[in-house]
């Protein structure tokens, strides 16, 4: 199978896995009481409240994106490029909130900022009253979501800043200090990666409803949720997701416009050469203190409560007996899902990067659109599509969960692949081509090994997202074969707090232990480069 056939197949696979169920839902939203109608959409625009919701949603998504990127970008560079002490510990520390369900993070924060929280007992009711009011609103929502999504720009900045060609930075170092070089050379060079991180954070925070609902800040996705949960109205629920689709179109348009002028040939860091480490010098201590303070504020403070709660004897044993099988399944599904996502996203990323087929833009749009859709819409779509007597080998088995992951998360791996491919000179593949290598041979022996750092990062990110997925897996998991987040979530109702806390700690460990192991491999191989 040649290049054209393979890439077309990859697009068709994603269309079948993701677009088809979505189209089914769209169809439902256009039929009201047996007739073709736009009523579901008109209902959306009718009440003035929708505009408030849209405004709230945008405010939350914008603040989250700005703050998470503003903090994550320098943090990623600090952790990826400088001699800051305890870098690896910090990477894991800041990644914790992404591994936990955001709802849990919100609950942990309440223990501090609530009227009865830690602050109230230490600083008095006046302060606590103020923090509680702030917490239940935009600032509180933004705080929780920034902590949750900060790892995305942080990790992407880390990976990208290590691939910048040192010559370009050294050229700058001759005339100015590191701060200026980073600001004017390194950061602009990794701009596509930063933009990708910002886009992902924006879409994720726009689609998040658990936290705003808990903190009583009304946002748009609540509408879709309400239509599902209270009214069991699939059509209206899908219609309510339409603004998310519109936002995706707009974002993508903006991004294409921004990056069009930015097409340049990045000369990547030569293989075998470690990225130069920036010595912080006198700034080392204050920077370390600042990073520690941020870590304490965003992670240690809220999660300490979780750890303390779970630190009662025997609770982990109980949690494991209740959830060991789910944990094992979760790890298996997530590993399989991440691998499939890297394969499919890798092919689509290659298509988008090389523009090998005329519909590459369509493929890009499709992945991001699916990423922005609420998991519940995709989930119900998948159920309706695959729950047929002939396809029980899909619906009655974990295959359906993997399809769900592919439908929702391909944008992550395709976009990270695009970033990785941009670092590889086109001549690498061309040289293989004139040497007589067919497309698959070139992919397997030249392109994939050269992009391995990016592909590893893609796998890790996909693994985290599959592991923490709730929206889709909740709706499609085969009876009796749930995942750990699903079980944690369903057990959350009226279970003892220490059990829930222990389950959350297990969930976080399940995400971070593989991350830490891979980080060690990374370190040993000199940042995925050096000797292969």
């Amino acid at each position: 199978m040649g290049r054209r056939a393979t890439l077309t197949l990859a697009v068709l696979v994603l269309a079948a896995v993701g677009l088809l169920p979505l189209a089914g839902m769209l169809g439902r939203s256009l039929v009201v009481e047996g007739r073709l109608s736009l009523a579901s959409y008109e209902g959306l625009l009718a009440s003035g409240r929708q505009w408030t919701l849209v405004r709230h949603s945008f405010a939350l998504a914008a603040w989250t994106t700005i703050l998470a990127t503003a903090a994550g970008l320098p943090l990623g560079i600090l952790l990826g490029r400088t001699d800051l002490p305890l870098r690896h510990v910090f990477v894991l520390l800041f990644s914790i909130p992404l591994a936990a369900p955001p709802y849990v993070t919100a609950v942990s924060w309440l223990a501090i900022l609530g009227r009865q929280g830690l602050l109230a007992t230490s600083l008095g009711p006046a302060v606590a009253g103020w923090t509680a009011t702030q917490f239940f609103g935009l600032p509180g929502c933004a705080l929780v979501l920034v902590a949750t999504f900060l790892p995305i720009p942080m990790l992407l900045a880390m990976v990208h800043s290590r691939t910048v060609n040192p010559r370009l930075e050294e050229a700058g170092r001759l005339v100015t200090g590191w701060t200026e070089v980073l600001r004017r050379i390194t950061v602009p060079l990794i701009l596509p990666g930063v933009l990708l991180a910002a886009t992902l954070v924006f879409l994720l925070s726009l689609g998040e409803f658990g936290v705003p609902m808990y903190l009583r800040y009304d946002v748009f996705p609540v509408e879709s949720f309400t239509q599902f949960s209270a009214f069991l109205n699939f059509g209206a629920a899908t219609a309510a997701a339409a603004p998310l689709a519109v936002v995706t179109f707009v974002l993508l348009g903006l991004e294409w416009g921004l990056l069009r002028r930015e097409i340049r040939h990045i000369q990547p860091r030569p293989e075998g050469e470690a990225p130069p480490q920036i010595a912080l010098g006198k700034a080392r201590r204050p920077v370390f203190c600042a990073v520690t303070a941020l870590g304490v504020l965003l992670v240690v403070l809220p999660f300490a409560a979780l750890f303390i709660q779970s630190a009662s004897p025997g609770v982990y044993l109980e949690a494991l007996t209740r959830a060991a099988d789910s944990l094992l399944r979760s790890l298996t599904y997530a590993a399989l899902g991440a691998s499939l996502l890297v394969l499919l996203g890798g092919l689509l990323g290659y298509l988008i990067h090389t523009r090998a087929l005329p519909f590459w833009r369509g493929a890009d749009l499709m992945t991001l659109l699916l990423f922005a859709m609420p998991g519940s819409v995709l989930g119900i779509g998948l159920v309706s599509l695959w729950n047929r007597p002939g396809t029980s080998f899909i619906y009655a088995t974990p295959v359906i969960i993997l399809l769900g992951y592919l439908a929702q998360y391909t944008a992550l791996t395709s976009r990270i692949t695009v970033g990785a491919l941009a670092q590889i000179p086109a001549a690498m593949e061309e040289a293989a081509q004139v040497a007589g290598a067919g497309w698959w041979r070139r992919m397997v022996w030249i392109v994939a090994p050269l992009a391995r750092q990016g592909l590893m990062a893609a796998w890790l990110v996909a693994f985290i997202f599959c592991l923490r997925d709730l929206g889709i897996s909740m709706l499609v998991y085969p009876p009796g074969r749930d995942t750990l987040p699903v079980r944690t979530f369903t057990l959350m109702a009226n279970s003892p707090a220490h059990l829930i806390a222990a389950l959350c700690v297990i969930l976080i460990a399940a995400t971070l232990v593989p991350l830490g192991l891979l980080g060690m491999i990374w370190k040993r191989s000199g940042g995925f480069r050096g000797s292969a």
């Binding site: 309400t226 209270a230 159920v383 009876p479 109702a493």
Partner: protein, 323 residues
């Protein structure tokens, strides 16, 4: 033919159960069923607390090719909805005998068991203790009351029940007055209970299991059965309800599971579990902090009517909540 039949019978029997009752409480019951009968239970759990869009939506989406055998609803209104949508089959379990007729579908599509009651959870620090839902409209408790979102779960059902008991006009006036008196909306009954326990609010109308679990955890709250006085409207009772799904893959095992759930033994277990649910069979042993159903003034309702009313008032509730 013979070979096929043999093959089928040699496979271990299973039953697929979709469960809306909290997993902490329902899972042990299902495990006991497995142990006792050897029938493997494959379950899909849901949680009303965190309001996932799980089980009900899934049942509806799977209508064309049902995967579930049994639906264990945590309140009868959803069971009634399934009946209306044609997703359920009638089944009269022998164990349903002794459960009051109010708590059963007249056509046998669902049967109620182990019930929760709608109760007031009151913070012990509150000076005046409310004993009626009318406290929500009483200026004495202005800004002190919290209630879960009226669009979801048992709160919707309880509101619909008020509509069927008081009539539209009186209930709507009550709800408007409630708003004027500064009621706050929480996302769930459990959260209402926590907000009262933490002192953010003085009292909340929630489910008895929410109240019992907080008192057993030693939180500074107490449970008050509302409107028990002469002429009071009574406490709304929310039984669990079990439904046989039409066209499910394992109808035989399904009936056995339903029989098991409706047994006095299950009711006793659910009474002693932390959900502290009130048995509907007479003469089942209960823990001391639980009132027996016969000693309780209950709101006289017809659940089918409540379900119909619920759908009817949803647009009103949506406006009321501000959605």
């Amino acid at each position: 033919m013979l070979a096929a039949a043999a093959c089928r019978s040699s496979r271990p029997a299973t039953v697929v159960a979709y469960v809306s009752e909290d997993q902490v409480f329902s899972e042990p019951i299902l495990k006991d069923f497995e142990k006792q009968t050897g029938i493997a239970v494959k379950a899909v759990f849901d949680t009303e607390e965190a309001k996932s869009t799980g089980v009900m939506n899934r049942l509806l989406a799977e209508k064309g090719n049902p995967q579930a055998d049994v639906y264990w609803a945590n309140e009868p209104v959803r069971a009634e909805l399934l009946k209306q949508q044609g997703l359920s089959s009638p089944y009269r379990s022998p164990n349903a005998e002794g459960i009051p007729a109010t708590f059963q579908d007249p056509d046998g599509h669902w049967t109620g068991f182990s019930a929760r009651a709608r109760v007031l959870i009151v913070n012990k620090g509150l000076a005046a203790k409310p004993d009626s839902i009318l406290a929500y409209t009483d200026p004495r408790w202005k800004g002190k009351g919290v209630i879960a979102n009226l669009l979801f779960g048992t709160t919707t059902a309880a509101t619909a029940a008020l509509f069927t008991t008081w009539g539209d006009e009186r209930t709507k006036a009550f709800l408007e007055a409630m708003k004027k008196n500064g009621v706050k909306i929480s996302t769930s009954n459990g959260e209402s209970a926590d907000l009262v326990a933490s002192g953010e609010f003085g009292f909340a109308l929630a489910d008895s299991d929410d109240a019992v679990s907080r008192t057993r955890q030693g939180k500074p709250v107490e449970m008050v059965y509302p409107d028990q006085q002469e002429g009071g409207v009574g406490s709304f009772i929310v039984p669990n309800a079990v439904v046989l799904i039409k066209g499910g893959p394992n109808p035989e095992s399904a009936r056995r599971l339903i029989d098991y759930l409706l047994s006095k033994e299950t009711e006793r277990k659910l009474a002693f579990a932390d959900c502290a649910q009130i048995p509907l069979h007479a003469g089942v042993e209960t823990p001391p902090d639980l009132k027996r159903i016969e000693n309780l003034k209950t709101m006289p309702v017809n659940y089918a009517e409540v379900a119909r009313k619920m759908q009817e008032i949803q647009p009103f509730l949506k406006t009321w909540v501000g959605y």
